[in-house]
Amino acid sequence: MTVTTDRLPSYDEAVAAFDPVIGLEVHVELGTASKMFCGCSTTFGAPPNSQVCPTCLGLPGSLPVLNGAAVESTVRVGLALNATIVPWCRFARKNYFYPDMPKNFQTSQYDEPICVDGWLDVELVTEDGARTVRVEIERVHMEEDTGKSLHVGGATGRIHGADHSLVDYNRAGIPLIEIVTRPVEGAGAQAPELARAYVTALREIMRGLGVSDVRMEQGSLRCDANVSLRPGPEAPLVTRSETKNVNSLRSVERAVRHEIRRQAGRLTAGERVVQETRHWHEDTGITTPGRSKEQAEDYRYFPEPDLVPVAPDRDWVERLRAELPETPDARRIRLLDEWSLSEFDLQSMVNAGAVDLVAQTVEAGAPVDAARKWWLGEIARVANERGVALDELPITPAQVAAVVALVEAGELNDTLARQVIEGVLAGEGEPAEVVAERGLAVLSDDTALLAAVDAALAEQPDVAEKIRSGKVAAAGAIVGAVMKATRGQADAARVRELVLSRCA
């Protein structure tokens, strides 16, 4: 059964008829040096099964020991999300069989999470300006990641139809936290944008805390989106679907949008929404059913007897609270002032994920305007082309600042600077190396420029005549020709001066 999108109601029809309620479960891989319950390294991309030991392989007799750094990171996340850090909590075992899970149970917090009752304010851009929605956070808990299955043979890379499967346990036992919201009501038609804005805001917070690299494409931030539709904002909560594998910011928004339309289609047709897990398909933009609640596993949770309870020391928690970095919100207010930006300018930077990058570029010596111009202009264009986030591009704020410095010193013009950035993004090295390697430098030698100007004038005698007769605007054509002849390395303003003086 394939549901095609063309039979679904339009999004506007869907949200006119129903009030969407969303809930988000976000998994974040913590960037600790070692795994949750053993000393193995957590480096991404190591050869398969090279970062394993008896504990994370679940060998008979092995035992877990809790990673203190992971607890600290989780507490800091909880504090940043305005949550209560409980005085005492435990881990549980979530029992189910799967080959990528070495013990056939996952050690995870369950009904006794370490952080409860937090919130995060999220800004939504509306026609009437910015609007703040408070997303309530039910819990933040700790757990361990599973291994990774690779299904070999078959067309889809999925287990169905595969010849055999390989399992890499490097990821097994990587510390994860799960951040679960309460049902988010009141976003109305903006529910998809809110979902995206929430995940974006969470990402900013994680990054600010330095607890994770939050790279969605590498799976270090993963989002499950719950969606339900009710007849109106006053109606009680109803059956929801849970969409998994939503692994980019854009997908979060699209998946919620699609689910709203899909559920509206069913409800309008008099069908019911089934409580089930659904899979998001990036390519087709639709969700398909996974297991339904009726077939769902009974995880047989019980307290993990191999670990002792976690009782965070109150003084320690308060110390961590005092040492929290500035929140993204507070920083936004500060930057607004320091950089003399409008709300709109700042919001567009936030939306582009450029605030940190611009700030770091400014710290590296670039003026605010120049830093903004490059990150939101040329670099944003490339990011868009490649379909990745700004910070996922192989260029650093320091490199952008270096390019800006070269422009300020008159050694590059914008055209050349763009080529330098292109070179850095292509992996050609540091800006200075790209300049040297590509031979990019503004031609400041008037003799060489004059020769080029004379050649251009000679090639276009009619234009030269117009300029001589006082039509100064025609000089543009000659300047263009000179810029082309010098492969953009000339200073256009100087060329113009030379053209006008030659035709005077």
Binding site: P60, K103, R300, L307, V308
Partner: protein, 504 residues
């Protein structure tokens, strides 16, 4: 030396303390001691079947290393060069570890349990691995996938379980020492029915790292020996904090060797548990127990009767908690990573291979408890079963607390009957479970407990065990009391009870 060592068989009759002292003094070598025990094993184990695996080569090499250290002038520890048998539930690097199960046939751990590491560091010579009920589930060793162990006192009777192999190896003079594990009585009940000494240390007193878990909150490794002092010397080596076991207690090991040497109960208050008598208790067992209690008074202790009303619920609570944890602990045996794999013929899915492997690899008792535990943890039943059982556990701890407010040590028969005939209870789980009636409360409460021989039952001429229970981390009291009983009875009989065992 005073023991007059002359022949190989004499070497096997020495206590561990005597052997260690003789090796340290250069009177005998570790190699000849080891060889004598290997010869004894070769001579009798075909009938006893205490061992699943004998590592003659490794044992002789370890013994030679001890002799070399002595030759180099090194001061040896009290058990350096003394042979030991290790229950097959403990991971030994390079030596098979089957847990008495088909499902782990051929598995060779890549690491040593902490207990084994400590033994090796102390120069104790590992002879091999001993037979046991599958994954330590049973009281007769008949649930071993590799055939039962026979009681050296009567080869047609059970040696107790689950650690029947360890107890029998010590009783049959195949090893002066053994490591057992005790989840509900698996060290103490075999000790009782084989006329040997067995100690379940305080939970957390000995590291569980490398002990293949049956029930994580109940399992505890401990010493098996022929004398109380030997058990104490072994206890001191294996006990102590281990950072690899989160449930390991970070405080000094009680002075067990000193207490065993003191062997003095004068002024101590000893409590007889009222609940451990009456129906189901063999008259001969009851008689020897009553005599032991009278002996305490002769030795200068005060004896009172104490009431532990909730002990009546210990067995049912245990048979909910144990299967629950066991169903989760045994989930990892699925044929994916190690051990047996069944059905991997390109026609079965991974899930089917898991199911086929577990169906073929586990015996009836393991399956029974996995099913019980899976049920007890199921959603909708958890509170009624696992939850209630945990409450009972708390009540039992309170009973102990109240009892230990009145007395220093509690005593009871270790097991209600002497060794029963092989085959008698193997198809009657309830009858089998009753063998652990008196030993289970200590596991539920996590305190320390010991069984020492207190005579032969007049009705069948088989050994009777006296159980002593001390509060957590008061293990030294057991050795003080056990040592006193042992010394008084040796004075009475002129020898240790084990000397009365028929020659094999």
């Amino acid at each position: 030396m005073s023991a007059g060592v002359s022949t190989a068989s004499d070497l096997t009759r020495l206590t561990a303390a005597q052997t260690g002292a003789a090796i340290a003094a250069g009177e005998i070598s570790a190699v000849e001691t080891t060889r004598a025990h290997l010869e004894r094993i070769a001579a009798v184990d075909a009938r006893v079947h205490a061992f699943l695996h004998v590592d003659a080569e490794g044992a002789l090499a370890a013994a030679a290393a001890v002799d070399a250290r002595r030759a180099a002038g090194e001061q040896l520890g009290p058990l350096a060069g003394v042979p030991i048998a290790v229950k097959d539930v403990i991971a030994t690097s390079g030596l098979p570890t089957t847990c008495g199960s088909r499902i782990l046939e051929g598995w060779v751990p890549p690491y040593d349990a902490t207990v084994v590491r400590r033994l090796r560091e102390a120069g104790v010579v590992v002879l091999g691995k001993t037979n046991m009920d599958e994954f330590a589930m049973g009281s007769s060793t008949e649930h071993s996938a590799y055939g039962p162990t026979h009681n050296p006192w009567d080869l047609d009777r059970i040696p107790g379980g689950s650690g029947g192999g360890s107890a029998a190896s010590v009783a049959a003079f195949e090893a002066p020492l053994a490591i057992g594990t005790d989840t509900g009585g698996s060290i103490r009940q075999p000790a009782a029915v084989t006329g040997t000494v067995g100690v379940k240390p305080t939970y957390g007193g000995v590291s569980r790292y490398g002990l293949v878990a049956l029930a994580s909150s109940l399992d505890q490794a401990g010493p098996c020996a022929r004398t109380v002092l030997d058990a104490a010397l072994l206890h001191e080596i294996i006990a102590g904090h281990d950072p690899l076991d989160s449930t390991s207690i970070d405080s000094p090991t009680p002075p067990v060797v000193e207490a065993a040497r003191a062997a003095d109960v004068r002024g101590m208050r000893i409590g007889v548990v009222r609940q451990f008598a009456g129906e189901g208790y063999q008259p001969g067992v009851q008689q020897r127990f009553t005599e032991a209690v009278a002996l305490f008074e002769d030795l200068g202790a005060t004896v009172v009767e104490v009431d532990c009303p909730n002990f009546d619920y210990a067995l049912p609570a245990y048979y909910l908690i144990l299967p629950s944890e066991c169903s989760s602990n045994l989930a990892r045996f699925d044929g994916m990573r190690y051990g047996l794999r069944v059905g991997d013929d390109a026609t079965h899915s991974a899930e089917e291979v898991m199911a086929l492997t577990r169906a073929a690899g586990f015996g009836a008792e393991a399956k029974r408890r996995i099913i019980l535990g899976t049920y007890a943890l199921s959603s909708g039943y958890y509170d009624a079963y696992y939850g209630q059982a945990q409450k009972v556990r708390t009540l039992i701890v309170r009973d102990f607390d109240a009892a230990f407010a009145q007395v220093d040590v509690l005593v009871s028969p270790t097991t209600p009957t002497t060794a029963f005939p092989l085959g008698e209870r193997v198809d009657d789980p309830m009858a089998m479970y009753l063998a652990d009636l008196c030993t289970i409360p200590s596991n539920l409460a996590g305190n320390a407990s010991m069984s020492v021989p207190c005579g032969l039952s007049p009705d069948d001429g088989l050994p009777v065990g006296l159980q002593m229970i001390a509060p957590p981390m008061a293990d030294d009291r057991l050795y003080r009391v056990g040592g006193a009983v042992e010394a008084a009875l040796r004075d009475r009989w002129g020898h240790l009870l084990i000397e009365e065992a028929p020659p094999l």
